[in-house]
Symmetry: C2
Subunit: 643 residues, 2 copies
């Protein structure tokens, strides 16, 4: 179809793109320098080597309270051969930090001295030269190198600088980075109340995130005006930007190959496109260009793409300009809990949740959509799957870059299984009571939780699996699927499951029976979820056929996602918990009250973190907060059940 | 001797002191909260859980340029059964990001569509529901938990907050920390020109360092006036401080047991001393107290003690107030290159330089004086030697807390051996040319350098060992001491060695012969240093006896330290290099021109970092800078010599 579109003529690998970037702008040189008082220079980079102007100490100083003497006059003294010293002639009273009087080179500690009358002291042991003395220059000798250029000033550095008499330093100016958000759909979140958002409008967030990242990388961000999708407007804005005093220009959005993507054309009109398209994911549609010798980036608009493109290209350029090595995240060896296929030809930045389960760091892949910022905010680490790889096998040890310190990952309780809103309450209360302890939950359905326990990749499984023969929950499944894993079972809540329907119930849905009506579109939960088992059980009881239910094969992974589908009108009904319906103001038609338990392997049960978690669950405050959600019953919450 | 002194009545271990601290102030509770726009909240801590106000996307959005359709109308379509769609009725043109028109649930990519005439398109493949669509709530569902309380906001968090419609957040106020420097010797470095410093006066640096640390730990520092050593003045200042709005008060200096140490008495007068003295080194004389329910610390005045006391006690209290876990430094397993004895009964924080030599991280202990801030600024890591330990054996693998990222330690060239000022020039130029590459040098004398090579604990040894039989340098020593280690030898410089004497040469020293004069006090270099070998060689040639030289047994480890001793009048003469004399404006009486080489094991010679270092050494700029120091000759600099 005829349509004005860009094409990625010649995608580069990330290594190629970086090589082009660094070689193109190497000659641009370092930014200018500025002189700052040392106290304002923390985190800044020295533009030149700094040498000491003063020695430290700048004089010989007593290191103890006592008496300064010339050490050689005390040689030979002992208990049997004590010696008297005349104050003001042989010995001089000094306190710690005092200047050593002339012609003395040692201090006798006050504890080792006896007063023996008018102006006389007696000693019973010798001192050696420089004993109890801080010698001039012991720490720093004037003129010595304190720090080479490109040293990044830390709080500790400040101490050495001041002690060396250096009170101001020449540091590199922060590279000035201008950020221009583009997109006709964007709305400035600082000026538009969210209530007035219209469908199709999007709160601009990338510019704020990128500004924060620019600062973190040592640059000085400036936010330009938002630009609508229009080639002329963008070209004019870029022209102004490149004639101004910015060191780097970022346009955000419109870097792809769509009909409303103008970044490439605008850069091409004013300068040169160096790279369009890098074989990485997210971040593929990034553009690198040069206008008036100035680096210009077309940063993709999807939030995770924007961050990856910045961190892999624009950030490292800032570091280069500051003479700094690129910051390296700490890494750890992790094991994915399931197979992760990946597209060969693209280097993938896969976001994962991490936790230490019985000595192994397990990695739970998060969704891969570049449009989902929560795949990064929920991530504890990033696994980089190389370009030539087609993925990672289950349990294959791989390196992950860590987004949280290892100590924090080691302090994480990994919950896998069915989703329930009370887990959010639990997470918040744990975070409040036990700073540093983290509850990380991953929603794969009840059966997924049990399988995770069997594989030894989680501390807790959340489960509400109904035994359709006797109406019991979880016990028969544990016996069947975890025969070799001793576990404890703790009841979290009873909860109401029912049909979530649009507010006011416009389609007059009364119960499960209505789901086979032709005018009803259902949204299901995934196979293996307790809610789906519950649905199938009810369908069976009612002699209904799943094939008669429109939407039975469309599924979501959480109650909230089902509720969102109903709210948006995508579906007319979904089975889920009352709390999810209540959260989005949907109507709720109760179907059954079910039991939701936590399944905990016995090897973890007595650990500090599990006991802390149980303390929270058993607290009145937890029960109160859960009851406030609605649709929950806490009379047996926290009880250890038969398992 | 009668003398007004404090005593450490009851020292606590660090664990005990921390337990007392945390339990005493736990009830003090969290600081109040404040509400900030999200863009100002980076690095701050959420005072309450944050839930999303908007879903993201807040509408079903096209994820591709193309045509929106109802997927089920395309089922069964194939190349052999193409289908025509009427624009505006069956299909609607959309671009990426556009709202999906009503009654559509999928987007056909523009590439897969043929225009077949007026208002008609043709497709040859089906789409499935939600294909190429970003569904409402795919990233965030309104009301879902975005972050629990105590979450620390990162740049990424900002993206999730704005996308979830959260534009301002309630964060914990930064704990307000008042810092009161004490000490009659102190001079405010911001107001006193260093030229006017008098002997006995010291530039105050702790308050600036502690302010920076308070900020790094999340607090808000305020610097109080400097207080002289006087109980009444200090008590008044503390009283004011504790009645004011500070959350934590630090007095700095005067926490020890000397006659001019008043912190303890002042705290006791106004409140209660909880702990005086912690069995750690540095930092032992720290005080913890409480006045009007407010935590007050007596921070010791030695710069390293001050930092350790802050980081082990006051900093963690700030973290607790913010509901944050204590930051943990990354650790690595390291091997000390020599035995490190330590005092049992004290937990020691030993500062070490680190480098990766042939796969092992070697640790070179730095001097241990708490008064030397450079022992911390030069350190790459800290080995904590437990209280019950009497030290660490050579090569015993121990954990070190890292002060630089492991990637930086792995990018460090470790030079051990004789000290020469040109190594500073080299370090600065390497840092400028190769960001991230570090030259770490440790001064143990030439022989110490060769031994380090033999033990495999350094990349390069700097050496100027004279063969007293044939006048050659280094070669015979290499053959004797490194028979099994193939090495390359690269000449760094020729340099002048001579006697450094006070400016104007007041004692009329002409040469080595004068050192036996009774009115001359000499300062020597340590055994094993090339300079000492040179001295002994000359003494031998001149038939002089070392016992006739006053000060022969007093030694220093570097040329600069010898120069400083002469400058301060401690010694009248020392043997050293011209550059050191020149740096401190001493007179210099040449004795000999000697050769200083770098000895490099062959296994390292071809590595990238060694080749980079040789590139620098062979550059004209290096030679120019070295020649500018004076007393150096660079005609063979960079040459590979026989070895």
């Amino acid at each position: 179809m005829s349509h004005s579109r860009n094409v990625y003529l010649d995608m580069k690998t990330l290594e190629e793109a970086r090589a082009i970037l660094f070689s193109t702008f190497k000659s641009a040189g370092m930014p200018a320098s500025e002189t700052l008082p040392v106290s304002d220079a923390i985190g800044r980079v020295l533009a030149e080597a700094v040498t000491a102007r003063l020695s430290s100490p700048s004089f010989h100083a007593a290191a103890m309270d006592g008496f300064a003497v010339l050490a050689e006059t005390t040689f030979g003294v002992s208990e049997s051969r004590p010696q008297k010293l005349i104050l003001g002639q042989d010995a001089f009273a000094v306190n710690t930090g005092h200047v050593l009087p002339e012609n003395t080179d040692a201090v006798i500690m006050i504890e080792h001295v006896h007063a023996v009358g008018d102006g006389l002291i007696q000693i019973e042991a010798p001192v050696f030269p420089w004993q109890n003395v801080r010698r001039m220059g012991e720490d720093i000798v004037a003129t010595e190198l304190l720090f080479p250029q490109n040293h990044k000033i830390t709080p500790y550095s400040i101490g050495a600088l001041i002690s060396g008499g250096v009170l101001s330093v020449k540091v590199r100016k922060k590279p000035h980075v201008l950020i221009i958000p583009t997109g006709s759909e964007l709305v400035d979140c600082r000026t538009t109340p969210i209530e007035s958002l219209k469908p199709g409008q999007v709160l601009e967030s990338n510019a704020t995130v990128l500004s924060a990242l620019v600062e973190a990388w040592g640059g000085r961000p400036q936010r330009g005006d938002m630009i609508r999708d229009d080639l002329k407007t963008l070209t004019d804005a870029l022209q102004n930007a490149c004639e101004g005093d910015a060191d780097i220009v970022l346009t955000v959005g419109g870097s792809s190959a769509g009909s409303e993507d103008f970044s490439r054309a605008a850069i091409q009109e004013l300068g040169e496109v160096l790279v369009h398209g890098v074989t990485m994911m997210p971040g593929k549609p990034v553009i690198m260009g040069v206008i008036h010798n100035k680096p210009v980036f077309g940063i993709p608009g999807y939030p995770v793409s924007a961050i990856v493109a910045f961190e892999q290209l624009a950030g490292p350029l800032i570091a280069m300009m500051l003479g700094q090595p690129e910051p390296q995240r700490p890494v750890a060896t992790v094991e994915p809990i399931r197979k992760i296929p990946s597209k060969a030809g693209l280097e993938e930045f896969l976001r994962v949740q991490l936790g230490n389960v019985n000595g192994r760091i397990v990695a739970i892949p998060l969704p891969r959509g570049a449009g989902c910022i929560t795949t990064l905010t929920k991530a504890d680490g990033i696994i980089r799957i190389p370009r030539h790889s087609e993925g990672i096998m289950e349990n294959e040890p791989v390196q992950a870059e860590l987004l949280r310190p290892l100590s924090s990952i080691n302090n994480t309780v990994v919950v896998v299984g069915s989703h329930d809103n009370t887990l959010d309450v639990l997470s918040d209360m744990i975070s409040a009571r036990y700073p540093g302890m983290v509850l990380s939950s991953s929603h794969v359905g009840s059966m997924g939780g049990l399988m995770a326990i069997r594989k030894g990749v989680c501390h807790i499984a959340g489960s509400h699996l109904l035994n359709t023969e006797d109406g019991s929950y979880n016990l028969s499944y544990i016996r069947k699927f975890l025969p070799d894993t001793p576990v404890k079972r703790v009841q979290l809540v009873f909860r109401d499951q029912g049909l979530m329907v649009a507010s006011g119930n416009p389609k007059h849905i009364q119960g499960i029976e209505d789901l086979s009506r032709k005018d009803i579109r259902f949204i299901n939960r995934q196979t293996g979820s307790g809610t789906r088992i519950l649905l199938d059980y009810r369908l069976n009881q009612l002699h209904m056929n799943s094939e008669d239910i429109a939407g039975y094969d469309t599924d979501e992974f959480t109650h909230m996602a089902v509720a969102a589908a109903v709210l948006s009108g995508t579906a007319d009904a979904g089975l889920g918990i009352s709390a999810a319906a209540g959260a989005l103001n949907l109507d709720f038609i109760p179907v059954v009250t079910e039991q939701y338990d936590l399944i905990i392997p016995e090897i973890f049960f007595e650990t500090e973190n599990i006991q802390r978690l149980l303390n929270v669950i058993r607290s009145d405050m937890f029960k109160e907060k859960v009851n406030r959600l609605g649709g929950y019953h806490t009379e047996r919450t926290g009880e250890v059940l038969e398992s």
